[in-house]
Subunit: 359 residues, 2 copies
């Protein structure tokens, strides 16, 4: 899973680096994929089970809600049952943050709109400082302080974050990460662009309440993708009204699309058109299912005609340009054989397995 | 379906405006959603049937492959059977372009990598000029001319387009649209950013051979979304290995996510977490299904807790913040009632219908 920022991208904003458990965030560290459990945190077994499943999908950091003291006390056992760093999501009651720190979490998320008493925040910050536990200042457009008047949402989000950053800095605390999420994508991008120039800390990026997988994946991809293209963002969380594994899968796909992380196979396949003489949709779907068994990075192309087919198939590690009845198989840019239509998927996957699992 | 570029976006690149049939592209025209039929163009009935279905999804321009003379001759009847402008996709044989013009198409797409003989191109351009039919110079990374040597893909794509632009301009032809598509997103963005500053013509944007809906939607959203955020792009085509209606639906979702077009409802829904006390995933899915019947723009929020719930629900036209057993219903930012859990979807949809269909 190497990092390889393309020369065709805007340069990455270089932030300070912090560490959540063993995971580095910011600086030149790879952009980290995180998610949030949607189980009842008090249900320790279900929460551990879900986090373990997310670990299988390479979720790198997990956050859980801490709505009450029972949830805070569950964190200790949850932490013992999982391998990835655990972040406690705190709203309203600062004592839950203190209890979460006591339970041994690797990070805290505080929403400035929901804990406004500075003395309470100070108590949390001093307890976090003692343990060297980072705090995310997690601003959300849906829960901004009402005292900020008629400024724009972007300004209110940025101001809320800056005020909290100053408070933490005044306590000599700099293990800070910041997020500024809204549902509206241009609002979110503008807020991150503004704060990116004002503070040196790593940024957690995302679009909030983005909806169901159908439309939410698009909204997240446009927002997170645009920010990453601009060089902004050190860790991402895709928000979907769905099982959180969908968030992790989509997160990696966003990073892969910008060549920011490698993570399993990449499937190139043509949209099919009136030139296509075989059922490319079906072939691509079959290959996609087969590729789910492959963990190593490899670029595979399934193409349906002679226009771009051979060109794209050559550019992939393994590719097939499918014509009527027969296809041309490519490996590392070289034609390696002619394949009968019935064997398209089988022949392609044989090459994939040979490359990814040479023994 | 109004256009409303957010003040938080980069300013739009203002291009010359062309017209494909009755549809304006470039200048300050709304960004146009187009797709490509994947039927056999020679099968006139199937092609018309597919395009009519795409019209129902508000596809605004349709392109069809023209692999041979029989396909070119089918265009006349296809054109008669549909309402949206028809573009002929031409590769290799310039005579197919002449036949397509003869058949009355509204636009041509030529791939410079596949027709390299300048005299042949001239014949097509002069015939298009006579009829005032626009030509898209459609460069594709998979079919670049081999004569360009060892320059970068971005440079080769841009140079290929510029060379063809010059040829068309030398014939006093300026009904030009340009595209520069690759599978690699940073490559594609870099190519469009470069050409955007060099020519005054509208740009057709997209990511080519992006794959199946699962991963391809993400790749398209990141690439097209980043370009649109940067102010680049006058018409979009999402490429998916799928039924083209998926391309149209995704196209509108990309534009909606950047507030560039309105198109039916927008569903805000929270990702659910350990705070959620009701099955928000199920409720959001039910609302999503109900909203498919609504054609007018409306923003609907389904939220699962008190952290951001009321804030986001208030910001929507209609919203519900769902708690255990009971939810708070909002309309135009005002609380309008308390709803029992069994009635969440029904109550929300009653308000939606009242707003979108007041009689």
């Amino acid at each position: 899973m190497k990092t390889d920022r393309s020369k065709n991208m805007s340069p990455r904003r270089i932030s300070k680096q912090i560490q959540i458990g063993g995971v580095k965030i910011g600086g030149s560290a790879p952009i980290v994929v995180q998610s949030m459990a949607n189980t009842d945190t008090r249900d320790i077994m279900s929460t551990i089970r879900q986090i373990k499943e997310l670990q299988e999908y390479d979720c790198e950091i997990i956050r859980v809600a801490v709505p009450d003291m029972q949830a805070a006390q569950a964190l200790k056992k949850i932490k013992k049952g999982i391998k990835i760093p655990l972040i406690a999501d705190i709203h309203f009651d600062y004592r839950l943050a203190l209890a979460a720190l006591e339970a041994g979490v690797d990070g805290l998320r505080l929403n400035p709109g929901n804990i406004e008493d500075k003395d309470q925040i100070k108590k949390v910050v001093l307890a976090a400082k003692e343990r060297a536990i980072p705090i995310r200042i997690g601003v959300n457009a849906g829960s901004l302080s009402k005292t900020q008047g008629k400024k724009s949402v972007v300004t209110r989000m940025v101001d809320a974050a800056l005020e909290e950053v100053k408070l933490l800095e005044s306590l000599d605390f700099d293990l800070i990460k910041v997020s500024l999420k809204a549902f509206d994508v241009p609002t979110t991008i503008a807020a991150y662009k503004t704060i990116a120039e004002k503070i040196p800390y790593p940024l957690h990026i995302g679009i909030t309440e983005a909806g169901t997988p159908h439309t939410g994946v698009i909204r997240n991809s446009v927002g997170i993708g645009s920010l990453l293209y601009l060089g902004i963002g050190d860790t991402i969380r895709v928000s979907l009204t769905a099982n959180p594994r969908e968030e992790v899968i989509a997160g990696y796909e966003i990073l892969k699309s910008l060549d920011l992380r490698q993570h399993g196979p990449i499937l190139v396949s043509c949209p099919t058109c009136g030139r296509t003489e075989v059922d490319i949709i079906k072939i691509a779907q079959q290959v996609e299912v087969e590729l789910q068994k492959i963990k190593k990075p490899i670029k595979v192309a399934v193409m349906g005609c002679v226009v771009n087919g051979p060109g794209e198939a050559k550019d992939a590690d393994v590719g097939i340009a499918c014509g009527k009845g027969r296809g041309i198989l490519f490996r590392n840019g070289k034609k390696i054989g002619i394949v009968e239509e019935a064997d398209f998927v089988k022949a392609l996957m044989r090459e994939v397995r040979e490359i990814t699992n040479p023994n």
